[in-house]
């Protein structure tokens, strides 16, 4: 086999026609990706910023330019800050608990036992359930009138102090399937010989898990931390189905306020909040990366 490289006799004075053709070909290759990014990312982002600079009137018929004042007012206003607080709490409630439960289930199911596949299937089933359906199922459990857990005070949806936590539990449950599958897959990717070497070295079960297993599945845990944080910041359907933001505003996360199903906030304010959410997501992701990436070990 041989590879021949065709080079023009004088590379420096390549004919202009050929250069133009190559450039056009390059752009043609870029076009599909560009089209998608422009349509679904860059243009919406431009529109979002544009909207945040205009203030709609009450009827949505006119939107004069107001400059960045609306953005500044919104991001320092109590409505936005309450949204940040609720979204932050939602994150704190769902991410660590979700990862912990996923690890527990995966460790329990990572055995060579008869019928273990049945449990593996059950544990991962929430992946195939839509958020709306899962929320309705969860609602039958916590429904204040007829739910099985209607007397469990810390699960109450009608108490402003517990409603957000209760809703977040439905998220934990819904994400569990994904967490379980990812952790189980990475547990099963640990070479048997490494496990055996650890057993011979003398690690007991707890130290084995903390010193050997956790570092070896750390890339999966990092991935889950990022995915679950994004999921927490984007949670919407479960809130709408379970509490519709109430009681009062106690379950209004930032995203809920932006989506604004009751239509309270003008477009310009929601656009400003979106920019705030964008910034918040970027900050959290950067923080996570800085904090965790040094502890994550990616193979060899």
């Amino acid at each position: 086999m041989s590879i021949t490289v065709e080079s023009s006799p004088d590379g420096a004075t390549k004919r202009t026609g050929q250069r133009v053709r190559e450039a056009l070909l390059g752009w043609a290759f870029l076009l599909p990706a560009m089209a998608i990014f422009v349509t679904f990312f860059y243009y919406p982002l431009y529109r979002l910023i544009d909207m945040s600079l205009h203030r709609e009137n009450r009827f949505g018929t006119a939107a004069p330019y107001v400059g960045p004042s609306q953005l500044v007012d919104t991001l320092s206003g109590s409505d936005f800050l309450e949204g940040v607080k609720h979204s932050g709490l939602y994150m704190v409630y769902t991410v660590p608990l979700g990862i912990l439960l996923g690890i527990l289930l995966a460790v329990a199911a990572n055995r060579r036992l008869k019928g273990i596949r049945v449990f593996q299937t059950i544990f991962s089933s929430t992946v195939a359930t839509s958020v709306a359906v899962a929320s309705v199922i969860f609602f039958t459990l916590v429904n204040p009138e007829v739910g099985y857990f209607k007397d469990v005070s810390w699960l109450s949806l009608s108490n402003p102090d517990t409603a957000l936590f209760s809703v977040s539990l439905s998220s934990v449950w819904q994400n569990l399937g994904l967490t379980f599958i990812i952790v189980l897959a990475s547990l099963q990717a640990i070479p048997t010989e490494v496990e055996e070497a650890a057993a011979l070295d003398g690690y007991g079960p707890v130290r084995h898990f903390l010193r050997i297993t956790v570092p070896l599945i750390s890339p999966a845990l990092m991935f889950l931390a990022v995915v679950l944080v994004v999921a927490a910041l984007q949670a919407y359907a479960q809130i709408e189905v379970l509490t519709n933001g109430g009681p009062g505003t106690s379950t209004q996360t930032l995203l809920f306020k932006i989506a604004d199903p009751q239509g309270i906030r003008p477009l310009g304010i929601r656009a400003s909040m979106s920019i705030g959410l964008f910034a918040l997501t970027a900050i959290v992701a950067a923080g996570q990366y800085a904090l965790l990436s040094k502890r994550v070990h990616y193979g060899d």
Binding site: P191, E193, V194, E196, A197, A198, A199, L200, D201, G202, Y203, G204, R207, R211, I212, P215, L216, S218, H297, G299, D300
Partner: protein, 380 residues
Amino acid sequence: MSGVTFDEVTKRFGDTTAVENMSLEVADGEFMVLLGPSGCGKSTALRMIAGLEEVSDGMLSIGNRVVNNIPPRERDIAMVFQSYALYPHMSVRKNIESPLVANRANRLPAGERSERIDEAAEVLGLTDYLDRKPGELSGGQRQRVALARAIVRRPEVFLMDEPLSNLDAKLRTQTRLELVELHRRLRTTFVYVTHDQVEAMTMADRIAIINDGHVQQVGRPQEVYDRPANLFVARFIGSPPMNTISGTVGTSGTGGNVATEAGVVAVAELSGSRAGDEVVLGVRPEYLKPRDPSKDDPGAGGLRARVENIEMLGHERHLLTRVGNEVMVARLDPALPPPSIGDEVVLEADAANVYLFDPSTTERLGSGTSTPTATVVADG
């Protein structure tokens, strides 16, 4: 230090028996190689010593202690795996230190730990790599880290499961030497599993040849080469392996002969077989050579063969021939002019170095008593 004793040990996985009624004594300080083809049960035997597999039946002891029900970490053994099994997230130093800190109850003081690590690193030439991660090391270096992790705990027994299989040929030869030196220095019991008979022959004090879950023969390398107990051992030890062909015993003069489909072979020692007995005749390639065509004597016997290929190895030539339905290999002196491919030749076997095997039991006739080889094996 202590030896390892298998007393009629059996290991079953469901319906399959991996090791059956195995009895084997590994002496204190001995370098024992378990040799056999893949799937023969040698690794299972090793893993039973480690405690990674349970013993189904029989008794397994390390030193004077029966270890059937003792967990791996309390057996005072160290194991080196084929894939090295290093902890990828730990530095070389942490990897080597691991067996010393894994069990909190019998952890050594930090000073002694680092002394032992430095010593092991020194022995294996890893001093400059202690702060690296395994991923930054070559295959040979990783294998040495695995060895260092094993020696740092000063175990009663070293277990090695094909530790050289992932290394390239040159490194394998070098590491082989290092392992032998390590054994000489430590004087600890080594149990070493391999399918490579060269590794077994070059390193072992004694070899246990295993097939189908049974020990076929245990002996010093030269012993199993010169006095194979049965056809399996005869064909497994030696490269190229021993040539075999079936025939019928006849007598003539002082010795005897074996008539095969391709001709008659003179045999110096009939090893108890009588005229008319069916036998399998075996002869090693170095004792088989084509007869000089100029001295051809139709009455002299020999095996009619056709040359199929000639392999040049520099210091010797292997003549691959077809004899009846068998392929037979003769080892030739490269100084002599070789026949050409396709030539008809007559192969002569050295009558004093012909082995006879019982075709039904596959045992070598006269095994244990007489030695067909002219050379006497020196002990030690």
